[in-house]
């Protein structure tokens, strides 16, 4: 490894995931962070929509989350799941109807008093670069009210990041890439420090 000056390398650009990831990125049980039916598991489901309100059949989502106690898993084994090890990460392709489903657990808050959320990356044909967003649990409004991200958003856009609790205990949350109810997508690099100095 050669010495590099800190913060001087410019990031490689992203490109669209294209139309043909379907034989490459999916893998068995990719969307099952735990085996369905395991104690504490819930279904997280939703639909990806384009700017015309049509479902997007060729999108793929990844989620990354703490366990129900708020612990960040450092365990390997996401790609070859044993059904018992919670690695915190999963991947789900949308089908013909634009729908995706994960089997997971409710994330716990990673810090006392923090709002619990699931981190999400969205990829699709026609989407030039991946988009980051979050799925917050709808409970604990007092934590949602003080969450740094949610409280920085206009009221009408906050709701795009908050899941609905289903009657069966699961979560529903949709992605709207464009237009009415457009999901809030995140920039972690910031524009104030374009040199990469944001540490």
């Amino acid at each position: 490894m050669t010495e590099q000056n800190p913060g001087t390398l410019t990031a490689t650009p992203g490109q669209t995931v294209g139309p043909f990831f379907g034989y490459a990125l999916p893998f068995p049980k990719d969307n099952e962070l735990l085996a369905p039916g395991s104690p504490g598991t819930i279904r997280l489901q939703g639909t990806v929509y384009d700017g015309a309100g049509h479902p997007v059949p060729d999108a793929i989502l990844e989620i990354w989350q703490p366990d129900s106690a708020g612990q960040v898993s450092r365990r390997t084994g996401s790609l070859v799941r044993d059904g018992y090890t919670f690695t915190g990460w999963g991947r789900a392709s949308t089908g013909n109807t634009g729908r995706f489903t994960f089997t997971t657990v409710n994330p716990g808050p990673t810090e006392e008093g923090a709002a619990a959320f699931i981190a999400v990356a969205v990829f699709a044909r026609g989407l030039m670069n991946r988009l980051f967003t979050r799925i917050y649990l709808p409970e604990r409004p007092e934590y949602l009210a003080t969450d740094p991200l949610l409280s920085s958003l206009p009221e009408d856009r906050r709701d795009t990041l908050i899941a609905r609790r289903d009657a069966d205990g699961g979560l529903s949350w949709d992605v709207r890439l464009q237009g009415d109810g457009e999901t809030v997508f995140l920039d972690f690099q910031g524009t104030a420090t374009p040199t990469g100095a944001s540490r």
Partner: protein, 275 residues
């Protein structure tokens, strides 16, 4: 492959727009960008999400600005992958079937680095690509070029302690698509990469040097800055080339700068990895 932003399959005649139409749009955007640069704008380093010459992007790009967020705990970590997840042989795309795939055997190798130049060790790299004839094995690929029974075009590996990755594969062919009439993608390999933080997650495409299709391709051209585009082009590397066996291409990938204080023992994940 699609011919329009809204439908998965449609009449090829619908793609009546010519390359000249598309090239004019691309040129206008490029000229406008160079004017911005002269006016003191900062160089762009990523593709534009809103880039109409790639027709499928028209209804699939956010119209609101990305919202700045400081990453929180979970986003400052990345899922851990290890050799339980990926077998060493998955990095050789030429040995997945009974026979040798057709085409030009190549080695593609490089390093995954973060924005501070630190190696991204023990992380997952996934690739997928067309075969030598420019045909994907995907069932929706309608390109009437031959499938190769000895080539799937999917590979994975885990980066080494120095952030290095290495694949043996076949040079992919150019690929026709229906964005417009006579649209051809430059030869490319799709790459999916993880960093040490979820904020560094990226999917991109690696190209080959000197491809004549670069100026014509709306996906490559969605990156309006030439220096940024160049970061997606591998370098022919004769030192990597193996005599009488395979040509070598080197391509390093830089992820966005890491936010979290980095510790030495993260090299293969805190859980460790039995290798």
């Amino acid at each position: 492959m699609t011919s329009g932003p809204r439908t998965v399959h449609s009449d090829p005649d619908a793609a009546a727009e010519t390359q000249a139409d598309l090239s004019a749009e691309i040129a206008a955007t490029g000229a406008s960008y160079r004017q911005d640069l002269l006016g003191g704008a900062a160089p762009e380093t990523q593709p534009r999400l809103d880039f109409a010459p790639y027709r499928s992007s028209i209804l699939r790009h956010p119209t609101k600005s990305l919202h700045h967020a400081d990453p929180e705990t979970i986003e400052l970590f990345s899922p851990a992958f290890g050799h339980q997840d990926v077998h060493a042989l998955e990095s050789d795309l030429t040995i997945q079937h009974n026979g040798e795939p057709l085409g030009e055997r190549i080695i593609v190798s490089g390093k995954v680095l973060d924005g501070d130049g630190r190696p991204v060790a023990g992380q997952l790299v996934e690739i997928w690509q067309a075969n030598a004839a420019g045909r994907y094995i995907h069932k929706r690929d309608q390109h009437p070029a031959p499938l190769d029974p000895n080539f799937t075009g999917v590979g994975r590996c885990i980066t080494g302690e120095d952030g290095s990755y290495r694949f043996v594969t076949i040079k992919p062919g150019a690929y026709p698509w229906k964005n417009h009439l006579n649209a051809w993608r430059p030869a490319h390999i799709h790459f999916s990469l993880f960093g040490s933080e979820f904020t560094q997650r990226i999917v991109t495409q690696m190209y080959f040097p000197g491809d004549q299709l670069f100026p014509l391709d709306p996906i490559y051209q969605s990156i309006v800055d030439q220096d940024a585009r160049d970061r997606l082009v591998a370098r022919y590397d004769h030192d990597l080339t193996r005599p009488e066996w395979a040509l070598g291409y080197t391509w390093d990938i830089v992820l966005t700068g890491a936010h979290r204080t980095w510790t030495e023992n993260e090299a293969f994940g805190d859980a460790g990895d039995e290798e």
